[in-house]
Amino acid sequence: MAGAEPRLPPVRPEFEVRPGEAGQIGDVARPLSAWERISNITLVRRLFILLVLAVAWQIYASWLDNPLMFPTFDETMTALWDASIKGPLLERVWTSIRVLLLGYGAGIAIAAVFTTIAVSTRVGTDFLSTLTAMFNPLPAIALLPLALLWFGLGIPSLIFVIIHSVLWAVALNTHGGFLSVSETLRMAGQNYGLRGLRYVAYILIPAAFPSILTGLKIGWAFAWRTLIAAELVFGVSSRSGGLGWFIFENRNQLETAYVFAGLVMVIIIGLLVESVVFRTIEIRTVRKWGMQR
């Protein structure tokens, strides 16, 4: 270009101004409209999705017109209502849930012991990693024949397979969570003079809580699935059957609407636990603490 003169920005005059009043600017903070507020509620949005699914189901099933293969939404709901009020459905649900809670609780307790050992010693870590790697891919149902052989036909067998399905998922996530606790937090905890179990309880568990919660959720889903499947396989446990047995029984009698009602019940319980129990825990802990959005 013209000459060797380096290009410089123009020198402009300086100035100082006073910032304007917020009132003149207007929309600094405006309340949201009713529609915006309603659509912000997660529950409303989710219920809307459920509604759309139900309508689609009803339309498809009416068009198919084959209640033996695919009953309509309203037939299923009627069956669900009948089975709950007059029939044995609620009793079956209670039987299943009781067994489930026993197995789930035991699984979590064992996982807690395992992970505590794993964080305190290196042998423990290797032990847990090896066991998890071995047993996590093993479907709980595959252990059922063995469980029946050892514990007989009944609740102990069910609890055994549920523990198997909960334990590894919870232990894996909890241990992973412990490992990812930041060095700074660890040092802060040790700085307070915390050691051993107190250190695990006061620092590691809360700090790893997002992972632990994930583990609990996965464990819950695994346990629920395992239980229903196990009940389908060998039906009645000691006195009264569970939800899986209810489904199996009605399929044998070709009461398809009741089979659907049983499945819907499984879904409803799953949704309730997820959206009420786990969500409440989440809101009161990890969200409040800013560990999760």
Binding site: S182, T184, M187, A188, N191, G193, Y202, W289, M291
Partner: protein, 278 residues
Amino acid sequence: MSTALPAANAEMVDEHAPALLAVDGVTLQYKTRDHLVTATYRVSFQVHPSDRFVLLGPSGCGKSTLLKGVGGFMAPVEGTIRLKGQTIERPGPDRMMVFQEFDQLLPWKTVRENILFPMLVSGRCNRAEAAERAWAYIDKVNLTKFADAYPHMLSGGMKQRVAIARAMAMEADILLMDEPFAALDALTRRKMQEELLQLWDDVRFTMLFVTHSIEEAIIVGSRILVMSPHPGQVKAELNAHQFSHDEQGGGEFQALHNRIHNMLFAERIEEERLHGRS
């Protein structure tokens, strides 16, 4: 270089007052995946009550490692670290750490609970006394309005203030500060330095402060240990108790700044020359 060191030590150390913290010929090493790194080599210094003792040096001079040694997170391979005559063996609440990272606060506790927690779990004081102290120190760091906020709602500067309040409320023998203001913006950092000095005026605590900023060392510190890198060794121990922000532009401040700068910079040139040759 080697002649300056004993001379400086001889005229500075007061033989009569017992040191609160005595670091004596300490060599610290840590392992990485494929190296054994010597972080500090035979470092000695003494911290007296109410000192604002600064460890200053470029990165790699082992100043943070040294602080971890004093904190009890690392055992020296050679030499001793003694607090009030007791050899330090493990981390403990008599030496409260303030870290550089903002995630040092427990995210599941509010500001007040964060300050209360160490007092309660270490058994330093009972509930009532702890509550009283917590309020007093929350007030001192101007966070009364945020006492019930969770750490994730606070700015970086506020989090560091909580960490400082938490450490001070313990009324520990010594506060160990590992570049507590390094991750803050320049304006906040300056304000925090002023506040820290004000707190010191109030309480006269003892602190061991690690930094790599010469300016911060002169402002915050009353005594500065200048260290050289690879491995960390003592280069000089200087006085800086006469300086605060007000003297920052002044000639003496500049003179000390330049003196330290040259000390550290000379090392770097030497090092570059060594590397160039090899």
